[in-house]
Amino acid sequence: MSVHTLLIDGKEVGAGSGQTLLEVARENHIPIPTLCYLEGLSGWGACRLCLMEIEGQSKLAPACTTQVWEGMRVQTSSPRLNRYRRGVLELLFAERNHVCAICVSSGHCELQTLAQSLGMDHVRFAYLYPALGVDASHERFALDHNRCVLCTRCVRVCHEVEGAHTWDIAGRGVESLLVSDLAEPWGASESCTGCGKCVQVCPTGALFLQGKAAGEMQRRTGFLPYLQRMRRGLA
């Protein structure tokens, strides 16, 4: 594997070819906000929070799917990027129903944490508040569509790691909806193994363990890199 040198925020860092910008930045303790990305899953590039400015390129590039190259000069933060990131968060907060005070994930929610760290303290857009339901048909888990940000981390972990592909997205645009199997109740799903990986990787309060009250839902997302390492070791 050849080695590249690049400049992230003026700091010289080394990287192996094939690595993504996000991986290299995190190795070097350079913070980059992400929502749809999760270590151990394939890059998705959809939340647009990890967009970077790359010198010589007119378009912004997502760090999670952009591979490094020799001599790359990257800016991970700027007034413009931070404004865009706050804008994206505002859009997300306005899209469904993210009332933290009554959410199981409050205090442990990635969306909430991102809003705090990026300084998104109010929403200027009209709240859409679509009438979406809660699927509590599974014996141990539940899905609250109102909290879902459509990051597809659950879809990817179920497909790529568990191999069940219970989850997918139906519909399109703002009408997109997370569905299990062919849009059947989760509890009636024949493909779901009940492993709970989806619940562990959800960044918000959309997927949760039944019986959790507001603020009680904590997750363990760290199992994924471990699982991947163990699987590689065995292979």
Binding site: A46, R124, L128, L150
Partner: protein, 548 residues
């Protein structure tokens, strides 16, 4: 069939030409005006009047003047004349007058010398109107597939790529990337098999250039694809056509079968060791599938979602293999470039935008239809000379080019040349070639709102700025059009336009704000009037009392 046999057949077919010919357009627009029945009636009439030996009734493709359909033409040796608004009742007199050597249907005649036809420069559409799209022989008679077989037998793949690079042809799908460079990248890419894909997922409202080419001259596109496949080293191609084009699909499938039977597609084409098969894939109605990475996902059988580029399809495309994706019109240019040479093509159009472009004229314009003109012609020439101007004594207000991704250009810029760079500088795009002309009764806020509604409905929902941003933009535009908005809403609208443009994942979101930005740029007074509760064009339904 070898090149020699092909040339002989073309000559033989030309000699079989009858002295008299009546042609009738059987493309979608004229078919909807009963032109299929008209063609059959004419055939009957020719038989009844005993003119069979001397006169051929030919079903042909779209001549572009769709607003005057059903369109026909008669040829008496070298003399040709067009006939507009043909009706079934005209058939007996038409044939009789043709037989007697009299002027045919004088009151319905239309000269080929009118500006609409005389100022066009047909390259892609050169044979349209003179060949039957469902007959391979018709295409062979005008030299069809000779460019392909000449390339296969007399040139190396590298030479073919060089020729296309030298021609300066740029992608006709919208972005205008150099076709030759794209071919070269795919040709040099490591990995096998490689694929060639033709993007026929034309979805811009009011635009139907690709449909017309596919319906009127399907073999031309197939020949272009086969040449590309030879140049880049592919042996399988996909023609991705939207399911809303049933006639184009039917004719393409028929054309593929015909070409395969003659050994012009399939195994050992033209007796060489080159193999190339084409399969048709149908789009299921998602506009975003015209975006190349979403199109790939769709062909692979997945949801039509775009993915970030790089990697570009040229490197990692269909099933992760190097893939060449070009638009229908791009491929349709290829046979002519190889036949006449890169230098000939490079002389057409402008320095940076070579060749011609087919445009679909729609909206408030006299000659609704399709035109093919050299790049660099001004908007004024296209809209007023060829298009015949604005009907009903109205005046021109704006033209929207490039569909929902384009912008609205006002009268002040009518003398701008139509090429990739000029349109981009005006805040619009060339796009696939749609031109929607608007008169004084059009409200620009309403137009922006309409296109935003389109993008909102067609957003795939993958990335946040496009999925939610288009909904919020639509909401703000709706508020403005109802007279309910304030100056801060307008500021938010502009800020959100920038966010969606700069941060969306694919071209759909990145260009969705264009209609808003261009109308804000050229018609700011209309937005201001709406804030005051007035819609100058009288289109919007104001729910607020106007401030007098």
């Amino acid at each position: 069939m070898t090149l020699e046999a092909l040339k002989q057949q073309a000559e033989a077919l030309q000699q079989q030409q009858k002295p008299l010919e009546v042609s009738v357009c059987v493309s979608a627009s004229c078919i909807s005006l009963n032109s299929q029945k008209l063609a059959e009636t004419l055939e009957q009439e020719v038989r009844q009047q005993g003119l069979e030996a001397a006169c051929l009734v030919r079903k042909v493709g779209c001549r572009g003047l769709c607003s005057r359909g059903p369109l026909g033409a008669v040829r008496r040796r070298e003399e040709r004349v067009l006939l507009q608004h043909l009706a079934l009742e005209d058939a007996p007199r038409l044939v009789a007058e043709l037989k007697d050597g009299q002027p045919v249907l004088l009151e319905k005649q239309l000269s080929f010398q009118t500006a609409f036809f005389a100022r066009q420069l047909p390259v892609v559409t050169e044979h349209i109107g003179s060949i039957d799209p469902e007959k391979l022989d018709d295409y062979l008679a005008v030299g069809g597939y000779q460019s392909l077989l000449t390339a296969l037998t007399e040139r190396s793949p590298v030479q073919v790529v060089d020729e296309v690079v030298a021609s300066g042809l740029r992608g006709r799908g919208g972005a205008g990337y150099s076709t030759g460079l794209k071919w070269r990248t795919v040709a040099k890419a490591q990995g096998a098999p490689k694929y060639v894909i033709c993007n026929g997922d034309e979805g811009d409202p009011g635009a139907y250039m690709n449909r017309s080419v596919l319906e009127s001259d399907p073999h031309r596109v197939l020949e272009g694809m086969a040449i590309a496949a030879y140049a880049v080293g592919a042996s399988l191609g996909y023609l991705y056509v939207r399911a809303e084009y049933p006639l184009a699909i039917e004719r393409l499938k028929k054309a593929i079968r015909q070409a395969e039977r003659q050994g012009l597609l399939g195994q050992n084409i033209g007796g060489t060791d080159f193999n190339f098969a084409v399969e048709v894939r149908l789009g299921a109605g998602a506009y975003v599938c015209g975006e190349e990475t979403a199109l790939l996902a769709s062909i692979e059988g997945g949801r039509g979602l775009p993915r970030p580029r790089p990697p570009y399809p040229a490197e990692k495309g269909l099933f992760g293999r190097p893939t060449l994706i070009n638009n229908v019109e791009t491929f349709a240019n290829i046979p002519s470039i190889l036949r006449h040479g890169a230098a000939w093509f490079a002389r057409l159009g402008t320095e940076k935008s070579r060749g011609t472009k087919v445009f679909a004229l729609a909206g408030k314009i006299v000659n609704v239809g399709l035109v093919e003109v050299p790049m660099g012609m001004t908007l004024r020439e296209i809209i007023f000379d060829l298009g015949g101007g604005i009907p009903d004594g109205d005046h021109f207000k704006a033209v929207q080019t490039g569909g929902p991704s384009g912008g609205c250009i006002p009268a002040d810029y009518l003398d701008s040349p139509v090429d990739y760079e000029s349109l981009t500088a005006l805040g619009s795009i060339m796009g696939s070639g749609g031109m929607i002309v608007m008169g004084s009764d059009t409200c620009m806020v309403d137009v922006a709102r309409y296109f935003m509604g389109f993008c909102r409905d067609e957003s795939c929902g993958k990335c946040v700025p496009c999925r939610v941003g288009t909904v919020q933009l639509y909401g703000l535009l709706d508020k403005i059009s109802q007279g309910q908005a304030t100056a801060s809403d307008l500021a938010l609208l502009e800020e959100l336009c920038e966010l969606v443009q700069q941060t969306s994942l694919c071209g759909l979101g990145q260009s969705a704000p264009n209609p808003v930005l261009s109308t804000l740029r050229y018609f700011p007074q209309e937005y201001q009037a709406h804030l005051q509760g007035n819609c100058p064009a009288g289109v919007c339904n104001m729910t607020k009392e106007a401030v007098v």
